[in-house]
Amino acid sequence: MITSSMMWLLLGCAVVTWLPRVLPFVFVKNVILPPIILRWLAYIPVCILSALVMTNLFDASGSYVTFNWPILAAFIPTVLIAIWTKSLSITVIVGVVCMATIRFIF
């Protein structure tokens, strides 16, 4: 049901995903990070999450980067719901329903 070339491909992907995840946990144990690095790391959560959100809002498929309008239209109510409810599951449910509605209409 699975070929050996597929198995090697899956293992290759697993190793390159696993190493960046695990190495900091092995490395940070034995090293005390300087305060400047800790301050820098404190900005990583907000930066990474906003970068992930931003890349979804843009459409880079053409020669110029434009807004991805359907995604943007679902994004706005999703942000408002997130701020209002501070709830992960309500935000995800409302987001998916908004997206389905927008795709249904247009």
Binding site: I2, K29, I44, P45, S50, V65, S87, L88, V92
Partner: protein, 240 residues
């Protein structure tokens, strides 16, 4: 909605509390996992291959990209290289979380690292912002719940894949974005007023930088470069 939706105040370190705190993210996991299974079947992967991807790679965005590349007949070396780039952001996430667990054994640290995802990272940093620390048992609780839910949802998605030709119509692909939005809002609103204003300023820089980068790099390179640049701006513009 569940009472556990609001991630709790200062509490003892319990596995079950970790399970409960991860429940709000489960809807997201389950819908994205099912969508992945459906997309996998549509990309000519079989149920075993889809299940192994979720067990071995365990990274939502990378698994979707894997399907797209595999369907296009991309060489294995390129698929592995792309997976590496897409998942390199986990290095930054692990660096952020690892300092909370330096007193734990090497084996447990390898466990925490192996099960780190965008979502478990988001839940963990929000928890840490609220309580000031992370418990190892709590971390295991949310990690193992998320891992098992992801694998189970992928299998379910693969099994029902034949009946859902177009998962995008149901808005399921937006679940991932909506989860990132919620995690972002939670990590910002946990801060004080001055900090919130600083974060909003950084997010507006991020919008400009990402827009600029997308003209000549892939999305995943843009995420990495944008994060490194804006975090550095954050340190430089910090109010002492």
């Amino acid at each position: 909605m569940l009472k556990t939706d609001r991630i709790g105040e200062q509490e003892e370190d319990h596995f079950i509390k970790g399970v409960k705190d991860s429940l709000p993210t489960l809807f997201g996991y389950i819908s994205i996992g099912i969508a992945f299974g459906v997309v996998g079947i549509a990309s000519n992967l079989n149920t075993l291959e889809i299940t192994l991807l979720s067990i071995l790679v365990y990274a939502g965005a990378a698994q979707f990209i894997f399907c797209g590349l595999y369907l296009a007949g991309t060489p294995a070396s390129i698929i592995i290289l792309t997976t590496f780039i897409v998942n390199l952001r986990h290095l930054l996430m692990s660096l952020t979380i690892a300092p909370s667990f330096t007193s734990q054994s090497l084996l447990r640290n390898i466990g925490f690292g192996s099960l780190l995802t965008d979502e478990t990272f988001g839940v963990a940093v929000t928890k840490r912002a609220q309580t000031g620390a992370l418990g190892p048992r709590w971390m295991d609780g949310q990690n193992i719940t998320a891992y098992l839910a992801w694998i189970a949802a992928s299998v379910v998605g693969a099994l029902i894949g034949k009946w859902i030709p177009n998962p995008e119509k149901l808005g399921l692909d937006f679940a991932l974005t909506a989860m990132f939005v919620a995690l972002l809002v939670l990590s910002i609103t946990a801060a004080n007023h001055t900090k919130i204003m600083h974060y909003l300023q950084l997010i507006s820089y991020m919008a400009v930088i990402i827009y600029f980068l997308l003209h000549f790099t892939s999305t995943h390179i843009a995420v990495l470069v944008g994060t490194v640049v804006v975090a550095t701006i954050g340190v430089v513009t910090e109010k002492k």
